[in-house]
């Protein structure tokens, strides 16, 4: 069986921990993964005229985020059918429900204690949307999330050690 799962992301490597834990929780189920970032569109007409979703995503992604995505894809190669990074630009829950329907999302995974970082000045946290939507949201309780900072250059380590940290 293949499930389409939605995971909110702020383009930090830390936010991908939910993805990792979700894959562990899903067991043998195959998944189509949708990493979604909430960002409202600019009001400026010229910005809208030259708007390109792929360009915006490219601008938001860091090199480390991309390699982390690859790390995950390699780790769960046989179980990840596809991995897409997308942005959600709607304003209300109805729009989000439509987005879910259009993308045939089966399940969402949201972090409990993770503090969302605004990657862009118009970014917004998707977790409240997910909780209010028609979607079944599984909460991922990671015992300890490393305090996210954008200043730190070496983010990739965040993907590895938080679990073992919690255990140790």
């Amino acid at each position: 069986m293949t499930k389409t799962i939605l995971i909110p992301t702020d383009f930090s490597v830390q936010s991908l921990n939910v993805f990792k834990d979700a894959m562990t929780q899903l067991g043998e189920t195959k998944a189509k993964v949708l990493l979604v970032h909430g960002i409202s569109l600019s009001d400026s007409i010229s910005d809208l005229l030259f708007f390109s979703k792929s360009q915006l995503i490219e601008k938001l992604e860091t090199e480390e985020f991309v390699s982390s995505c690859w790390l995950m894809q390699n780790r769960f190669r046989s179980r990840i059918e596809s991995l897409h990074v997308d942005i959600f630009t709607g304003f209300n829950v109805a729009a989000f429900n439509q987005y879910i329907e259009a993308n045939k999302v089966d399940e969402a995974f949201v972090p409990v204690s993770y503090k969302f970082i605004r990657r862009h000045k118009r970014s917004f946290d998707l977790v409240p949307f997910i909780k209010k939507s028609s979607l079944t949201a599984t909460e991922i309780q990671s015992e300890e999330f490393i305090e996210p900072t954008w200043i730190e250059t070496e983010q990739l380590a965040a993907l590895f050690f938080n679990k073992s940290h919690a255990r140790g």
Partner: protein, 456 residues
């Protein structure tokens, strides 16, 4: 000759030849055109003159009108009409018209001829009363004398200007071409065996010069690595060999200082034997090291599995430092093992990794050092994280300089060679070694090694 002068001359040669050919062609074709055009004008005038003078008066009034209205008189225009019969002799031919020209008209019906700047055009004409005439028109070619001369002067001055421009352009052009090369030369000259860690600044454009710089940098990497390897090796080896020797000498000195009992002699001889055996082991190990080609001469690159390498290194580190606590995280290990295979030299990578892990153990007072392995699309990633003293931010820029020791590391023993050596080894494998650190919280080292593209 300098490259720049050579370039300038070549450029001037090419451009000047081009403009010379260009203007020569223009001059030639314009003057050629002027000749044919002028002969045509003379011919028209000859035809109208013949019509007007040799036909009955009332029939040619329209031709006369047209001629008066549209055919202006040319400078120095003269008309000759000669009746062609048996009596046609040299007497009625004007003096400056040669006989050959007249006979050419007779035989060809029309001909043209020029003498200095006076041009002649003649036709044979048969009028309505069946009498043959020769009509010759001569005129000065004003265009040739004035316009062509003007054109020639114009072309010559423009050629002179073009030459000036070409000299300037080729000078600037050669300058822009040669300058980066000169920069590279001066940058390379600055690098000597004393500051081998310096690198050439890589230009932004990926052109031949950029590749040259990268090649230079690669060469410097290899040079530096072998230099450092040698230095590291010598200092380590001499230290290692010196320790047992010192204790042998000390023991012997002590034993000989006064008379002793046989048991005491035996005891000191035993100690000396032990130390000598140690020395023997170490020299044998050295020999082995030399045999395996660790001298930087013949590094063989083989297929290596990074997870295996990490496990090997861990056991080595635990042997060297029994107090070391290493936790290996394989939670993000890729499913397919070919994503873990890289092309590399086992011994060198072993040395690099063990250096980094030993550093982690040393600077965190044998706290847990975490080692993780994963694979992205292009490279295998090894992350080594300790919770030690960290590196001050101001020192972070110098950690790859040989013999540099961070200001907070003075209480720890070390040569300041491990990290630069590790980075050089990683660089030899076209990888990256990135260090991030927070003071008093710990250091994270990420090593990216490019995938070897092995398939199962």
């Amino acid at each position: 000759m300098k490259l720049q002068t050579k370039l300038i001359f070549i450029l001037i040669g090419i451009f000047f030849t081009y403009s010379l050919l260009f203007s020569g062609f223009i001059y030639y074709s314009i003057s050629n055109y002027a000749f044919t055009d002028f002969y045509k004008r003379l011919e028209i005038r000859a035809a109208t003159t013949a019509k007007i003078q040799l036909e009955p008066h009332n029939e040619v009034s329209s031709v006369r009108e047209i001629r008066q209205e549209y055919l202006e008189k040319l400078p120095n225009q003269r008309e000759f009409v000669i009746k062609l019969n048996e009596e046609a002799s040299e007497s009625n031919i004007p003096k400056d018209v040669p006989m050959s020209f007249v006979s050419e008209i007779i035989s060809n019906d029309a001909a043209s001829y020029s003498n200095k700047n006076i041009y002649y055009s003649g036709i044979k004409y048969r009028n309505s009363s069946n009498e043959d005439y020769i009509v010759i028109i001569s005129a000065e070619n004003y265009f040739n004398t004035h316009h062509i001369a003007y054109l020639r002067n114009l072309l010559l001055t423009s050629l002179a200007f073009a030459l000036l421009l070409i000299v300037m352009v080729s000078f600037i052009f050669s300058q822009t071409l040669v300058q980066p090369v000169n920069k590279i030369i001066s940058a390379v000259q600055e690098i000597s065996s004393q500051n081998l860690h310096l690198r050439l600044p890589i230009p932004q454009h990926e052109d031949s010069l950029g590749r040259l710089v990268t090649t230079f940098n690669d060469m410097l990497n290899r040079l530096e690595t072998s230099f450092e390897t040698q230095k590291n090796f010598i200092s380590n080896a001499s230290h290692e060999l010196n320790t047992p020797l010192t204790s042998i000498i000390g023991e012997a000195d002590l034993a000989l200082s006064r008379d002793r009992k046989p048991e005491e002699y035996r005891e000191s001889l035993n100690t000396m034997l032990k130390e000598a055996e140690k020395l023997d082991k170490k020299t044998k190990a050295l020999l082995f090291l030399a045999e395996t080609g660790f001298d930087g001469k013949s590094q063989k690159f083989n297929k290596i599995r990074v997870d295996q390498l990490v496990l090997d290194v861990t056991s080595t580190v635990e042997k060297i430092n029994p107090k070391a606590k290493i936790s290996i995280d394989f939670s993000l290990l890729p499913e397919s093992p070919e994503m873990l295979k890289i092309k590399g030299n086992d011994q060198l990578l072993h040395l690099a990794l063990s250096n980094v892990i030993l550093n982690g153990c040393k600077y965190s007072d044998n706290n847990v050092v975490q080692v993780a392995v994963g694979a992205s699309d292009k490279s295998v990633i090894v992350i080594i994280k300790d919770s030690g003293i960290g590196i001050p931010e101001s020192d972070l820029a110098y950690i790859f300089d040989p013999y540099f020791r961070a200001s907070n590391a003075k209480s720890f023993e070390g040569y300041g060679i491990g990290l630069p050596l590790a980075r050089n080894i990683v660089k030899m494998h076209n990888g990256e070694l990135i260090v991030a650190s927070t003071l008093n919280e710990g250091t994270t080292v990420r090593i990216n090694l490019p995938l070897g593209n092995y398939t199962l």
